[in-house]
């Protein structure tokens, strides 16, 4: 049990470092509160945005926290590869340039895995291979208006 946990932790941590460095300037990694006995403690993040002192997680901004969480989710996905991923409005806290960075990353990952994302943000919609339009009929039922190849 300890072995299996540490193997998963080390791999996910190494994925996290790579993804984090790509999405944010600076460095970040996963931290176990008790490395000797992980099951007696929790898991947190050590984030050191470029040129800033190391941060207490609670003082990060909404957007910064959501980038850290996204990096964690992507790190887990890379540990357990699957044939498709579906993600619903993961970009809602992000400013324009962070949406673009996440969109560029997904576009690259989508080279050999299917990604289905719900998004309202223009930079994300612009990067997609295809756009699935959805709207409401007058009777309030859902109408899929069609799948349009993008650009």
């Amino acid at each position: 049990k300890f072995e299996a946990f540490m193997k998963a932790f080390r791999e996910i941590d190494s994925n996290f470092r790579k993804v984090f460095a790509r999405l944010m300037s600076g460095s970040g990694n996963l931290v176990l509160e008790n490395e000797e006995d992980p099951f007696s403690g929790g898991l947190t993040f050590a984030i050191k945005p470029q040129d800033k002192k190391i941060h207490i997680l609670s003082s990060l901004s909404g957007g910064e926290k959501s980038v850290v969480t996204l990096a964690f989710i992507f790190a887990i996905q890379q540990f357990m590869p699957a044939p498709f991923y579906a993600m619903d409005e993961i970009d809602m806290f992000l400013d324009g340039s962070n949406v673009e960075r996440v969109a560029a990353m997904i576009k690259e990952l989508a080279g050999n895995t299917q990604f289905i994302l719900v998004s309202l943000r223009k930079p994300m919609i612009d990067r997609a291979d295809r756009i699935l339009g959805v709207t409401l009929r007058p009777d309030k039922s859902t109408l899929v208006t069609g799948v349009k190849a993008n650009g």
């Binding site: 403690g41 898991l43 996905q77 579906a86 990604f115 289905i116 719900v118 959805v134 039922s141």
Partner: protein
């Protein structure tokens, strides 16, 4: 083994039968608030048994049947690139409901479907499907809860 089609029949805001084609690569679903985008993701979670009724924003499974259709049945079918189909149907009954599972048009069980999916790398704890609000939920987790995510994966 990516998704090539979802057939949604009388599920949540979908009345009648709607066929949605899916392709490889990067697809974005977009549209106004309340138009049914998350319901498409919910239909995928439902047919693959990756979520409970509360995860699908319903108090009980029969809340997933379209309210306005007056029908007692809801069904979702997922078709994959290797030809596999998975179907799930719920039917409202006098007391409660019936739930049916089909793997390649043959009657099956939730267990068999979850085992089939797990062999193809699709597992509830693998975060293949990230629902609206999951980011906020993980951001606000305690350190202990966050470690438990790794426990389940290991």
């Amino acid at each position: 083994m990516h998704v090539t089609e979802l057939e949604i029949n009388n599920f949540k805001s979908f009345s009648g039968v709607t066929r949605i084609p899916f392709f490889e690569g990067f697809t974005v679903i977009s549209g106004p608030n309340g138009s049914g985008k998350s319901n498409i993701i919910d239909s995928l979670l439902f047919v693959l048994s990756l979520s409970t009724s509360s995860g699908l924003r319903a108090e009980k499974l029969t809340d997933l049947i379209n309210l306005n259709s007056g029908r007692n049945l809801s069904e979702v079918k997922a078709t994959f690139s290797d030809g596999t189909t998975i179907k799930r149907r719920i039917k409202r009954a006098a007391h409660g409901y019936y739930s049916y599972y089909y793997l390649n048009e043959r009657v099956s069980t939730q267990m068999e479907i979850l085992e089939f999916l797990s062999r193809h790398g699709i597992k509830p704890e693998g975060y293949n499907v990230v629902m609206q609000g999951d980011i906020t939920r993980i951001m606000e987790m305690s350190n202990l809860e966050r470690r438990r995510i790794i426990d389940e994966i290991a």
